[in-house]
Symmetry: C2
Subunit: 221 residues, 2 copies
DNA sequence: ATATTCCTATACCAGCGCGTCTAGTATGTG
DNA sequence: CACATACTAGACGCGCTGGTATAGGAATAT
């Protein structure tokens, strides 16, 4: 955001032999504590209600320390968001490559629903949209890391299955959209309104299988 | 919210002959102006960023007048929400009763998508969830007026069609959920993140027909 | 006409939250 | 050792916003 280099971005000076810097080094444990504290707070309250004071308190750290690690409240939030996006990428990579089509789809669906209905990300459902709206680039990045990624992978699988004659598909992208929609159902909407908490493993499995089943009924050759 | 009677709730004194009150009467036009101004502001910014001052200014009214009509910022917001919910109810009532099953589903789908993807309600998509989360009763009411209502009506139609042997359905409620999900696709999520503006008539029609088609492929006898 | 209520304009208060500053202490490096 | 940096604790400035107070003008019923 600011043109000046932020200390949280670059800890290693550009033209330095190694990690050479005099004085006391920054405590990475504190940085981590700040991040986890902020994450937990952002997950339970909207952006504006999370105070830097509260973050510092919950992290067991002075407020000045927070500002020494993160220039801004927005910078802190941005760090949380990108970390969460990376976590999503990790959880959603390596889609099931073995088994029949049904089993592979089910594997992708289960892990996807597990991430967006059963993890911390679900609890952030109410904070993220509102806060990300002010930062289009960040919003795109986050969406691409989660739902977008899954839709892309699914479209590829569906196209391949159509090639093999397993499915009858006009547009793989639209079909992937249909599949994801069937998995999610009305969950995201209800969660956004606070009418639903995070789902159990069992419920996630059920939704994944049912959605996949309905999808196959509609698209199977 | 407050135990005291709010003037916006009761304009008629309890034990009064009729609408008898001496002095200058309240200007309903101003009240309307306040509501429309607030609505437009709440549609473009999150709850906390909307200032009463701005509402008054945009309504061309003194701030004190706003407070004379609405005791609280929350009372004002609540009025907006319930009015919007009523509007949704109006737009979604009288589901198509004529034509074949496909035509009736399509009629419901078009009007539903028209409301939540093409109207002011779509612009409020980012404000409502965050603000309603603090008021569970209001959130439930709003959800019931919109998506909940449509799902209920659809479940009834689907159950009837299953009775006639037109569809093969295990659970009408789940099937209704599937249909709505197929209509919406990824639109709501993208709108929440600000990655999509309100949709055109044409796009709404396309989504409704396509979703209905996929649904029928999966559930038709 | 007069009482009564509405409306405006403006000033005002209290609280809050971000971000900064300072003075002092702790902890590392050369 | 000295030096440089990190961290703490607290106070504080500043801007903003919800809500109140007041005084005077405007509209309407009786």
């Amino acid at each position: 955001m600011s043109p000046v280099s932020n200390s949280e971005d670059i800890d290693i000076v550009v033209y330095a032999p190694a990690s050479a810097r005099s004085g006391r080094p920054k405590d990475t444990a504190k940085r981590e504590a700040i991040i986890t504290a902020a994450r937990s707070l952002f997950a339970s309250q909207p952006f504006d209600l999370v105070t830097m004071e509260a973050v510092a308190a919950q992290a067991g750290v002075s407020k000045m320390t927070v500002y020494s690690h993160f220039h801004d409240k927005e910078a802190l939030f941005e760090t949380i968001v990108t970390a969460t996006a990376d976590e999503m990428i990790g959880a959603l990579s390596a889609p099931g490559q073995e088994g029949g089509l049904r089993e592979r789809l089910l594997a992708v669906g289960s892990s996807f629903l597990g991430v967006i209905l059963g993890s911390d990300i679900c609890k952030m459902a109410h904070t993220l949209p509102g806060a990300l709206r002010a930062n289009r680039a960040l919003a795109e990045r986050f969406y691409a890391a989660g739902p977008g990624r899954v839709r892309g992978a699914l479209a590829a699988m569906i196209a391949a299955a159509a090639e093999c004659g397993e499915l009858t598909v006009d547009d793989p992208d639209l079909a992937a959209d249909d599949l994801v929609s069937l998995w999610e159902g009305s969950r995201p909407a209800k969660i956004a309104f606070g009418l639903l908490e995070l789902s159990s493993e069992e419920e996630i499995r059920q939704r994944a299988t049912r959605g996949t089943e309905v999808f196959l009924r509609a698209y199977r050759r």
